[in-house]
C-alpha cells in the first residue's frame, strides 16, 4: 500500500569521515601511518563505498590516493609490463600492450562489472579488496605477477601467490600501499585464456573463474599454469592439475585428468550463487574448455 509520503527506507547513507587527498606517495604514507586503523585508502571506491553503505566499514579518515600521479599507467619495463595500482580496469582492457602480451588479463578486465564501474575500478582495488571472486586475480596468478608494496620502512616485492591470505585479507598491513604490479613477459609459444562463468553474462560475481596458460611446442606442454577464482577462500593456483599436464603431450585424456585434479584442488563453499558440488563440477568444465582452447590455438599457430 502507498505509505502516504513517508520517506523511502534508507538505502544506507554514508557514515561521517574526514576526507584527505595527498598528492604524493610520501604524504599518503605519512597520513596512513599517523591514523593507523582508522584510515582507509580510497581508489575507485567501487568496493569501499558499497561496503561503507552496508555498514561493513566506517573509517574515520578516507585517504583518496587518486591524486598521486606516479601510481597510474602502463609501461614496458625489464622484459615485462608494469601496471600502476590506480590504473582503471577499462584502461587495462583497452591497452594494446596488455592485449598482445597478456590476453587473459585483457579478457578478465573486459568482463568485470559494467562499463561504468570499469571506468572507476582500479587493479589495485581489485587485488587489495581480496574477494575470492576478484576477476583480475586468476590472470595475474598464471602470469606470476609481482606486487610492489610500499610502507614506512620502504618497498617490498611480493609474488601474487603469497599476497592473498583469506577473504578480504592480504599481506598489506596498516600504513602500506600497493604501488604497482609487475608482470613478466610470457615465454615464446605461450597461450593464455580467462573464462568467467556466472549466472548472467554481465554485472555478475563469478561462480567460477578460470585462467590458464600453456607453453606448447609440437603439442608438448613445456609449462602450464592454471588458476581458479571463487572456489576457495582466496584465488588459487591449481598445482596438482598443472602437474597432470606439464611435460606431457596434450590430448583429451590429459585434459580430462587435469580437470579432475583441478576440482580436487578447489575448496568451494555453498552460497547464494551455487552449491559447492556444482562449483566443483563447473571447475572441471571450465578447466577443460580453457585447456582445449589453448591447444586449438597452438595447433592453429603451427598450421598457419
Amino acid at each position: 500500500m502507498f505509505n502516504g509520503g513517508a520517506p523511502l527506507p534508507d538505502m544506507g547513507s554514508l557514515p561521517q569521515f574526514e576526507y584527505v587527498e595527498p598528492s604524493t606517495l610520501q604524504h599518503a604514507l605519512y597520513i596512513l601511518n599517523r591514523y593507523g586503523d582508522s584510515a582507509c585508502i580510497l581508489a575507485g571506491g567501487t568496493d569501499l563505498l558499497v561496503q561503507m553503505r552496508d555498514g561493513k566499514k566506517a573509517p574515520k579518515y578516507i585517504v583518496n590516493i587518486k591524486k598521486i600521479p606516479q601510481l597510474e599507467g602502463i609501461r614496458f619495463e625489464k622484459e615485462g609490463v608494469v601496471i600502476g595500482a590506480l590504473t582503471t580496469v577499462n584502461t587495462i582492457h583497452e591497452s594494446k600492450l596488455v592485449k598482445e602480451m597478456f590476453p587473459a588479463l585483457h579478457q578478465a578486465a573486459g568482463v568485470l562489472a559494467s562499463y561504468q564501474v570499469r571506468n572507476r575500478a582500479t587493479i589495485g582495488g581489485n587485488l587489495c579488496n581480496a574477494s575470492p571472486a576478484a576477476d583480475l586475480a586468476p590472470p595475474l596468478l598464471i602470469y606470476e605477477a609481482k606486487l610492489k608494496i610500499v610502507g614506512a620502512d620502504g618497498e617490498n616485492e611480493v609474488p601474487i601467490e603469497c599476497f592473498f591470505l583469506g577473504p578480504g585479507k592480504t599481506v598489506i598491513e596498516r600504513g602500506m600501499v600497493l604501488k604497482e604490479i609487475y608482470i613478466p613477459k610470457p615465454k615464446e609459444n605461450t597461450y593464455s585464456i580467462h573464462l568467467k562463468f556466472g549466472e548472467r553474462r554481465a554485472m555478475e560475481c563469478a561462480i567460477v573463474n578460470v585462467a590458464a596458460s600453456m607453453t606448447i611446442e609440437d603439442s608438448l606442454c613445456k609449462d602450464v599454469k592454471i588458476a581458479l577464482g571463487s572456489v576457495a577462500p582466496t584465488p588459487i593456483r591449481a598445482k596438482t592439475a598443472e602437474a597432470e599436464v606439464c611435460g606431457k603431450k596434450v590430448d583429451e585424456e590429459v585434459i580430462e585428468r587435469a580437470a579432475e585434479a583441478a576440482a580436487k584442488d578447489s575448496r568451494p563453499i555453498s552460497d547464494i550463487r551455487a552449491s559447492a558440488e556444482y562449483r566443483r563440477e563447473m571447475v572441471k568444465v571450465f578447466v577443460k574448455r580453457a585447456l582445449r582452447s589453448l591447444l586449438v590455438e597452438s595447433n592453429m599457430k603451427d598450421a598457419g
Binding site: M11, G12, S13, L14, P15, Q16, F17, E18, Y19, E21, L42, G44, G45, T46, L49, V50, R53, I62, N64, K66, N90, A113, S114, Y115, Q116, V117, N119, R120, R201, A202, M203
Partner: protein
C-alpha cells in the same frame, strides 16, 4: 566535515559547500536540482545514476562529492539544451518507443551517447556490452537496443 567544491556541470560552473560523505549523485539531485539523473540502488548495480565524468560514463552514486571537485560532468539535462534539437540518441528512443516508465532512460541515454562518442558503428554485441550496467525494470531491452542502432545510423548520416 564540510568542504567547498567546484563542479562544471553541463557547461556551467557551480560552487558548492557540502558534507564530504555525500555523493556526486546527492549533489546533482539535491543541490543543483538536476533530477534527471536517477537514484535506483545507490550501489553501482542499476546504472540509473550514470553521468559523464570528463567524457566517460560512471555511476554517480559511487563517487564522493569531493572526488568530483574541479571535474567536468554531463547529465541527461546537458545532452541537448532547451530550444536546440534533441540528440540523435534521444530522438531514436522516442521514435522506437524505447521508453516505458522512463526511470532507466536518463542512464540509458548517457551510456548510449558515450558508446556512440567512441564508436559510431557498434555491433549488437557491443551495444549490449555498453548497456550491461543499465538495468530496465520494465525490461524493454529489445526496443532500447533498436533505438541505439537507429541512433548510430542517425549519427553516421549526420557526419557523412
Amino acid at each position: 566535515m564540510k568542504q567547498r567544491i567546484k563542479l562544471f556541470v553541463n557547461g556551467e560552473a557551480y560552487d558548492i559547500y557540502t558534507e564530504t560523505n555525500r555523493t556526486l549523485l546527492d549533489v546533482l539531485r539535491e543541490d543543483l536540482e538536476l533530477t534527471g539523473t536517477k537514484r535506483g540502488c545507490d550501489s553501482g548495480e542499476c546504472g540509473a545514476c550514470t553521468v559523464l565524468l570528463n567524457g566517460k560514463p560512471v555511476n554517480s552514486c559511487l563517487i564522493l562529492a569531493p572526488e568530483a571537485d574541479g571535474q567536468n560532468i554531463v547529465t541527461v539535462e546537458g545532452v541537448s539544451r532547451p530550444n536546440l534539437p534533441l540528440h540523435p540518441v534521444q530522438e531514436a528512443f522516442i521514435e522506437k518507443w524505447a521508453i516505458q516508465c522512463g526511470f532507466c532512460t536518463p542512464g540509458m541515454i548517457i551510456s548510449a551517447k558515450a558508446l556512440l562518442d567512441r564508436n559510431i558503428e557498434p555491433s549488437e554485441e557491443e551495444i549490449k556490452q555498453a548497456l550491461a550496467g543499465n538495468l530496465c525494470r520494465c525490461t524493454g531491452y529489445v526496443k532500447i537496443i533498436e533505438a541505439v542502432k537507429a541512433a548510430a545510423e542517425k549519427v553516421r548520416d549526420g557526419r557523412s
